[in-house]
């Protein structure tokens, strides 16, 4: 059996480990345009802060590929899939045959059209190790930075560079920070915390035009000078390989619960894929690292002849900024139960008798017990939700359920 994987990030690791759990002999080849050993993408901001050494960013040990008998082709891009002939063309001209193909091409930064954008001298994105190194090369304590985008990528970049530059101003069209993962009230906690650390925000505004070292905003008409511009307004899934081969794509590559695309023997996983989000009961791109691994694993098991479905994907985020930790999961709908203090807040969302989501800021110990309630859609009638509201604990479950958790192998 010939397995081919396009992409060398977390979904690829999940796929490789899953294939090898079922098939120790098949040929596995990984093709990636990035030249690096697999690394945890979210660790790039921690590297800039000095919180992790470069050698510790490797997501798996040095001998990972060798141990799993994986042939690596790095620094080369896959340019076309021929789903009928079952081969993939690479940018260096070679063609690779496959029996089972995984497309895990990730996403790319979205750069909205704006006048003069091509004139900006020092413009960076913040997705990859190479993006980070390029940005790091420009950092110095006399520089002003403008970050366009107050989402997870933009703000993690801010955390990474703040101590290494003169000042950082963040601009976002939304009226709050982290608009995709926070509600307005919780976002205000995060914004206040970041402002105390010295980050400046201009919200509800966006770039209208650029010069080589300034941006003029659309609503306020303010002009901000910068030495460094970081674009982090959003990402787009890399779907074109599958779309060009005739496969179905939406915002991501459409996959079923087996991670199969509409093309025979072609699977997709990770940030490029649009699979089932059980919290909404529909397909959507969940560009989250744990989801990438789980999708890759599911794909790998099926590519190696298994029959595995991934049915309980939900949105999940754990992110920290300067010592403040924000953990969230699920959807923010239904009745909301809130506990708040000056610097921490907890919100639990209950709908149809189930915990459907939560946001925890600096009040997050044992949060996984909440996550499991969201993921398993556990009816709250069967647990002691009153004590769970106070703190996540296994005491809230019945004796038999607890026995299954603590007295048996799980």
């Amino acid at each position: 059996m010939k397995y081919l994987i396009i992409g060398n990030s977390i979904a690829a690791v999940g796929c490789i480990e899953a294939i090898r759990s079922r098939d120790t002999q098949g040929e596995i080849t990984v093709v990636s345009d990035e030249k690096h050993h697999v690394y945890g993408r979210p660790t790039i901001s921690y590297y800039l802060m000095g919180a992790i050494a470069a050698e510790n960013m490797k997501y798996r040990p040095d001998d990972f590929y060798e141990k799993n008998k994986v042939s690596l082709i790095l620094g080369v891009k896959a340019t076309a899939i021929d789903a009928k002939k079952k081969n993939v063309t690479l940018s260096d001209g070679q063609k690779l045959d496959y029996d089972k193909l995984l497309v895990t091409t990730g996403s790319r930064p979205f750069l909205p059209p704006a006048q003069g954008f091509d004139k900006v001298e020092k413009c960076f994105t913040f997705m990859t190790y190479d993006d980070m190194l390029a940005l790091e090369g420009e950092l110095s304590e006399d520089k002003k930075v403008v970050v366009i985008g107050a989402g997870l990528i933009g703000l993690k970049c801010v955390e990474g560079i703040l101590e290494r530059v003169k000042e950082v101003t963040v601009v976002d069209l939304a009226d709050r920070v982290l608009p995709s993962v926070m509600d307005a009230e919780c976002a205000a906690y995060v914004q206040r915390h970041l402002e105390k650390k010295g980050v400046k925000f201009i919200l509800g505004d966006c770039a209208e035009s650029f010069t080589k070292n300034s941006v003029t905003l659309k609503n306020s008409k303010k002009t901000l000078d910068f030495d460094i511009l970081v674009m982090a307004v959003g990402v787009r899934a890399n779907t074109s390989l599958v779309a060009d081969a005739g496969g179905a794509v939406g915002r991501g590559i459409t996959v079923d619960t087996h991670m199969r695309t509409s093309l025979p023997d072609v699977y997709a996983a990770g940030d490029c894929a649009e699979g089932l989000d059980s919290s909404i009961g529909a397909n959507r791109v969940l560009a989250l690292l744990p989801n990438a691994y789980a999708q890759g694993k599911t794909a790998g098991l099926n590519m190696a002849g298994g029959d595995e479905e991934y049915l309980n994907a939900i949105p999940l985020n754990a992110v920290g900024f300067f010592g403040m930790h924000i953990l969230s999961a699920g959807v923010y709908e239904g009745e909301c139960y809130t506990v708040k203090g000056d610097e921490k807040i907890k919100k639990l969302f209950v709908k149809d008798g189930r915990l459907c989501g939560f946001i925890l800021i600096d009040d997050f110990l044992r949060a996984g017990i909440y996550t499991s309630l969201v993921r398993e859609k556990t009816p709250l009638a069967g647990v002691d939700f009153e004590i769970l509201k106070h703190a996540p604990q296994l005491l809230a479950f019945g004796g038999e359920a607890r026995k299954a958790k603590l007295s048996k192998r799980v």
Partner: protein
């Protein structure tokens, strides 16, 4: 692989396992030296549920799950499984994002005292004690270390 299992009906709620855990992982030679450090400088990796007035008590630590979601969700590759099946953490790789805290359905992984990385039970293989200190000192066999 041997794991730690709970006999809930035998737990007195004495919290001794928490102190024995903290002691085993403290590097200290005498337990009295722990005084004032537990909860601030050293956090136990096992915790007893059930308050003073509750009829039920039990201790919770890492279950070393067959399909460990903390391992497959770790953003840094800091969590892994040994060949025997133990879930271990590499502190040098952990960036302290606490995705593992968000994922563990048992609430058995937590920030270390410095807040910069996560910590978890590694069955006292990482501190020189060799066999779980909590189990060795439980006065009522409410936690046991065995194959199941």
């Amino acid at each position: 692989m041997k794991r730690i299992y709970v006999n809930e009906e035998w737990c007195l709620g004495c919290h001794l396992c928490e102190y024995e855990c903290a002691f085993a992982n403290s590097g200290l030679d005498k337990m009295f030296k722990l005084k004032g450090k537990v909860g601030s400088e050293i956090l136990p990796r096992i915790q007893v549920e059930g308050g003073e007035n509750e009829p039920i008590h039990f201790a919770v630590n890492c279950r070393h799950c067959t399909n460990a979601v903390c391992v497959t969700g770790c953003i840094a590759g800091a969590l892994s499984k040994t060949d025997e099946g133990m879930v271990v953490i590499d502190k040098n790789k952990c960036v302290g994002c606490f995705t593992c805290v968000l994922l563990c359905p048992f609430g058995a992984i937590m920030p270390a005292a410095d807040g910069k990385a996560a910590q978890k039970c590694m069955l006292c293989t990482d501190n020189g004690v060799g066999t779980p200190n909590c189990v060795a000192h439980c006065p009522n066999n409410a936690i046991v270390y065995e194959e199941r």
